[in-house]
């Protein structure tokens, strides 16, 4: 897991094993990757920065912008859209926590409890990734039907008087968070499974032998040893969740008042054609994610990633 490796700076043995030989073959092999990144990441990124600083067309034509250095774009979008940015991160954090709470037990069950039954283990893993066989959009749309005003879930909850008659499920923050969590559970489960599958169960026996109850053994031994998987899983969930615009869209599980930053960017790029606003929002989103992820890895992922 690539993310799991972040912060394992104290692994000198591996680095020493390959002395710094700069062979031309190695550089040659790197070339396609570097070219790909330059073409499809660096060039669009520079273009995005340039776009984010553009000024409106002096003749007032909609959708046309001229080159400029209008840094006020950033100030304007921050003052206008800060609630969307805050909501995006709030939803993403909530969805990540829910996905972790659901994904970890699944991963533990498959990686530890099913270890003695390889066939069942393989079957369970297929079931975890089975949702990918159907398009993300279709699945989210299906949830919209299930949670709809005339749908079965709301009907049951209302007839049990858990929810009042005028309550709705779709179009609420809860539905959006639920949808994001649902869609990213496999991304959370698989890396954690990879960590737990390698967990030496003798450490758990040693925990019990040293007076740790099963719960204490979990928090002191199992969880720390599976942290690489947890860090990978939360990053794989949180980063795309923060930029998600499908679940929060009014066409799916959201409503105008649940719009996330992704919805704003989408509207500005494709409907309003306000490219500088969309571009500066994209860069703010990217920067904010980088900042949060950096802090998170510093906090969770340095020493404990063995």
């Amino acid at each position: 897991m690539a993310f799991g490796m972040i912060g394992t700076s104290d692994a000198p043995a591996v680095a020493d094993a390959a002395p710094g030989r700069r062979s031309p073959v190695a550089l040659l092999l790197l070339l396609p990757g570097v070219a790909y990144l330059a073409l499809f990441f660096v060039v669009p990124f520079v273009s995005l920065i340039v776009t984010s600083l553009k000024a409106p067309d002096p003749f007032g034509e909609i959708g046309r912008y001229v080159y400029a250095f209008r840094w006020e774009n950033y100030v304007e979008v921050m003052t206008t859209y800060w609630p969307h940015i805050a909501r995006s991160f709030g939803f993403a954090i909530a969805a990540t926590i829910i996905a972790l709470l659901i994904g970890y037990p699944i991963a533990y069950f498959i990686g530890v409890k099913l270890r003695r039954f390889p066939l069942l283990q393989a079957l369970a893993l297929v079931l975890v990734i089975a949702p990918f066989f159907i398009s993300f959009l279709l699945r989210t749309f299906a949830w919209k039907q299930i949670l709809a005003d005339e749908g079965p879930v709301l009907g049951v909850l209302q007839s049990l008087t858990i929810l009042p008659d005028d309550a709705r499920l779709t179009g609420t923050a809860g539905a959006v968070i639920f949808g994001i969590a649902y869609n990213f559970i496999p991304f959370m489960t698989l890396p954690i499974y990879t960590s737990l599958e390698r967990l030496d169960l003798r450490y758990l026996e040693a925990g019990g032998d040293l007076y740790a109850s099963p719960a204490t053994t979990f928090f002191k031994v199992t969880l720390p040893l599976s942290m690489p998987g947890v860090v990978s899983g939360t990053l794989l969930t949180f980063i795309p969740a923060a930029g998600d615009y499908i679940n929060a869209s009014s066409d799916f599980l959201g409503a105008p008042d649940t719009a996330m930053i992704g919805n704003v960017i989408e509207a500005n790029f494709l409907r309003v054609e306000n490219y500088p606003v969309a571009a500066s929002l994209s860069i703010i989103l990217m920067g904010a994610i980088l900042l949060l992820v950096g802090l998170y890895i510093r906090r969770a992922g340095t020493k404990d990633l063995v």
Partner: protein, 396 residues
Amino acid sequence: MESASSGADLQLDDVSKRFPGFTAIEELNLTVPAGSFFALLGPSGCGKTTTLRIVAGLETPTTGRVLIGKDDVTRTPSYRRPVNTVFQSYALFPHMTVLENVAFGLKRRGTKNAIARAHEALQMVELDHVAQRRPAQLSGGQQQRVALARAVVNRPALLLLDEPLGALDLKLRRQMQVELKDIQTDVGITFLHVTHDQEEAMTMADTIAVMNKGRIEQMGAPAELYELPRTAFVANFLGQSNLFAGPVLSAKGDTIVVDVAGRKIAVPRERAQRHAGDVTIGVRPEKLVLHTTEPAPAAGVNLLGPGRVHDVSFSGVSTQYLIAVPGVGTLTLFAQNLVSGPVVSDGAEVWLTWSVDHGFGVADEPAEALRFDPDDDTQAIAIAQRRRIEAELEEA
């Protein structure tokens, strides 16, 4: 949970453990007195590790009871038992420092000064200077000592050792054997040591129980087991033995006389398990005396021979002779190096004598006793392995 400062008795009553398809332990009865160093010795698959895991609470016995002190702990989960284990793999937590590993048990029980006491335990095994390192940064011997400190620091009523020295090289193993014994004497904890290394068991334990196929074959002090094995398995697993079968000719007075290939061999009555019919008797290789001329018969001495020497291996301190005696089979003889080098060479005709007091009679049926497969002996396995490697090297 009380912290036992000195050891407690361990008692196993009729403990059995059945797994699907096989029985690991059959009706085991065992009492380990408080403060003793008790070794469970046996070949792999004899049930000794299962016994240890049942005492630790990592397995539940199918039948029977486990008592530590006066408490029945049969259904007590491992984390509530006053028992600590030094695991064969050490099982040191890789994400914690050495100090955190050693303090783990103390912290779980809310002991005050957990860190200070962990440092003391590390000083005892002379590893306090690596307290802040991770287990992976230590050598095998150091990890073993950390595992020991992590268990001993809790002052358990009972300390379980699951072949903890198996992974160490010979020199380190000898050193650790001495250290372990010292620690046991110092802290007075009851030690239950599981091993397949007979030498380790003999040098360290007060009492050894030899296990075979889920049952205890014989239990006693190391010297007692060695001098007077009661079964063919013990006679061969704990050191080597020469075993002979034959019918009892007379059982008058305090000796029984057995016919071995025409020779009358006497065994003290109280050293023989069976006194009539076909019996198996034996003698240890170092008790045999080698003669190049036929000695005159003497009272209190057994005589076998003539036989022919077909292998002489000189190991410095002693020489091992393999001697084929017609009608008896091949006997092994260890002679101390009193003169310079071996006294006879291959093909020499020799006679063997030993004091009647050194013979013993085992309980097995003669047919079964002689069918003992010496491959079960760890030493034999090691020799076979070395031969295989040598053969491979020659081919290459």
